[in-house]
Amino acid sequence: MFLSAPLIRSALALSLGALVLAAPALAQRDPAYAAARAAGQVGEKADGYLGFVVPPSAPLKALVEDLNIKRKAVYAQHAQAQHATVEEYAFTAGCLAIARTAPGEKYQAPDGTWATRTSAPPQRDPRCPAG
């Protein structure tokens, strides 16, 4: 019985620690990724993934591929919940990600070429939702 109080305390501390670890890390973009985006080396593709506008360095390639894998995992999870295919969900996210690009960033136009975002609305697939 005399052991129970410290035990409970340590169990509480452990579960609190687990909660902190499990909470989604609301981190911002990796600085290398942010820099590549701003420099127009990496762009938003129409299919919902990142693409390379110019041949990437090995570390940038690994970083962007990792982001695409993470994107795919998120797409797959939400697509299942929405009873849609991963491709459909990814395409929808691609429409929105292109809409969110900042002026100077690259995005893939419907004809497949890389376009630079200006202050004007981006050229998007006609199936993309407005706004």
Partner: protein
């Protein structure tokens, strides 16, 4: 007319079809033969009409995903939240 025939250990064949000289039995046999003959003739005739040509173009299976606009509109709200909730990967 019923003839009696020797049929080894089995009982005597007494019905007309069993003896093979029943009018009805013979007629049925002939009909069946005629039907079969017509079928064979028909198949042969049809065989002359069927022509199987190899396609001159290679068979291409279309793998382009046909995404419907209505699906995109349905998913838009959820996808927008997903992007907002995962700023580190978008």
């Amino acid at each position: 007319m019923t003839r009696r025939e020797l049929t080894d250990r089995a009982s005597l064949a007494t019905t007309l079809p069993m003896q093979g000289d029943s009018k009805r039995g013979r007629f049925r046999g002939l009909t069946r033969m005629a039907t079969a003959g017509m079928l064979v003739a028909g198949l042969l005739a049809m065989g002359g009409c069927i022509s199987v040509n190899a396609p001159d173009k290679p068979i291409v299976i279309e793998l382009n995903i046909n995404i419907q606009q209505e699906v995109v509109y349905r998913l838009a709200k959820d996808a927008d939240q997903t992007i907002a909730q995962n700023p580190e990967i978008f």
